[in-house]
């Protein structure tokens, strides 16, 4: 079932590929810049990943496809190319802290205000998500 969905969405995606070529530059640059920090970042990524996948914490997989996680839901958009989507890390933090700011009726949990994740925990999740 999941495999089928992925294939379906990939084929949809390829039709719009041409229109995204402009983004290629952005992502290419930023991933080159990060390469040096990779080792140091790995440990925080691991912690962030745990928080993101833990059903009692972020449980982001309930709604988002995330590389490395299984049984992902499809309520929210797949979390990929996050650097291109959120050139500023603070913006990604803000999105996870309280998604209602951008979309008042969102189903996404207001992780910060409802104290599901602490600020520090959100920082770690951001580091992990930013690496995707």
């Amino acid at each position: 079932m999941r495999a089928v969905c992925r294939i379906a969405s990939l084929s949809k995606i390829s039709t719009v590929a041409a229109s995204v070529l402009t983004l290629a530059g952005i992502v290419g640059l930023s991933s080159a810049a990060l390469a040096g920090d990779d080792k140091k970042a790995d440990a925080t990524h691991e912690e962030g990943k745990k928080l993101a996948f833990d059903k009692k914490k972020g449980n982001c997989l309930a709604c988002h496809l995330i590389a490395g996680g299984d049984q992902a839901g499809n309520i929210g958009p797949p979390l990929v190319a996050m650097k291109a989507r959120f050139p500023k890390k603070e913006d990604l933090h803000a999105q996870i802290y309280d998604a209602r700011v951008k979309n008042p009726n969102t189903i996404m949990i207001p992780f910060g205000p409802h104290k599901v994740l602490t600020d520090k925990e959100i920082d770690k999740v951001v580091d992990f998500i930013y690496s995707l």
């Binding site: 079932m1 969405s9 949809k12 995606i13 390829s14 719009v16 590929a17 229109s19 995204v20 070529l21 983004l23 290629a24 992502v27 449980n59 997989l61 309930a62 709604c63 049984q71 992902a72 839901g73 499809n74 309520i75 929210g76 958009p77 797949p78 990929v80 190319a81 291109a84 989507r85 979309n103 009726n105 969102t106 189903i107 949990i109 207001p110 409802h114 104290k115 599901v116």
Partner: protein
């Protein structure tokens, strides 16, 4: 390269979600159940597409997904609720200590009971549910009432539902008092609650037919046609209010008591939304 391409898809999906979640909110000022129901059905028609017939939603998620449907049809050949259904029939036939039985409260024709409920009673200004009347019958006859969420009450309710299969939901508020109960249930349904801040509608309207983790979310239209439900997770039958409690807990909200005014209003609202659909209880679910 793959990463880049997906960005566009993310944006496209984002836009689609934005659109669909704006559509359903009904008008606030007048209480108009028939208009709400039409809007509700139209939403699902659009949201689910032409392939899914609205009346098939009495089968819950199994109307959405071919794979699940064929699994379910196999399950229904040897229904997991069969033993409890038999126990329900025994309860129906059993005499109380005073020599009477449930038929003295509900009437002899067991096939005509399910579709009468739930309804608003003008005199007492409350919502009368099937389970409520089962326990009222016991009390009126000097018997000890059943526990509300599972066990005997679910067994008997399952038997009554089974015998009433094929009839249609007729629940409809006509008076101002009835409409006020309907409105209370509607507000409950659309209100965000719990630490996770989600409304029933978030999962069962706007995001129905999507997956939350591994679970496909059922559309709220048709939710109430097939209760009580045998859930593999429970290992037995449970009432609608047991399910409500579970869905409240999932979002870390404090559940209300079975047969509380809150859940009775919610049940009433859900029945009104599914008015015209066929009863096919008891159901079997994951």
């Amino acid at each position: 390269m793959k990463k880049l391409i997906t960005t566009a898809a993310v944006m496209a999906i984002g836009a689609a979600i934005g659109l669909s979640s704006m559509a359903v909110q009904a008008k606030e000022t007048t209480i108009d159940p028939a208009a709400d129901r039409e809007a509700f059905r139209n939403f699902f028609k659009k949201h689910l597409g032409d392939k899914i017939k609205l009346d098939d939603l009495k089968d819950g998620v199994y109307a959405l997904d071919e794979d699940a449907r064929s699994q379910w049809e196999e399950i229904e050949e040897f229904p997991p609720y069969e033993i409890e259904l038999d126990k329900g029939e025994e309860l129906w036939n059993k005499k109380f200590k005073n020599g009477k039985s449930f038929a003295d409260c509900f009437g002899k024709d067991v096939s005509k009971i399910r579709a009468k409920y739930p309804y608003h009673d003008e005199k007492t200004d409350t919502i009368v549910t099937l389970e409520g009347d089962i326990n009222k019958c016991l009390k009126d006859n000097g018997e000890k009432p059943f526990k509300w969420k599972k066990g005997k009450i679910a067994d008997l309710s399952a038997y009554i539902s089974y015998e009433g299969r094929g009839q249609k939901i007729t629940t409809e508020p006509k008076t101002d008092k009835a409409k006020a109960w309907y409105d209370k249930g509607k507000k409950f349904f659309y209100a965000k609650r719990g630490q996770l801040n989600m409304a029933c509608a978030d999962c069962h309207v706007y995001n129905s037919n999507r997956r939350i983790r591994g679970d496909l979310l059922s559309p709220a239209l048709g939710h109430v046609t097939h209760f009580p439900v045998f859930r593999s997770k429970w290992g037995n039958l449970g009432t609608l209010h047991r399910r409500y409690g579970g869905c409240n807990k999932q979002v870390r909200a404090k559940p209300f008591k079975a047969q509380s005014d809150e859940y009775k209003a919610l049940e009433y609202f859900q029945y009104v939304m599914s008015n015209g659909m066929e009863f096919n209880g008891p159901g079997a679910r994951k």
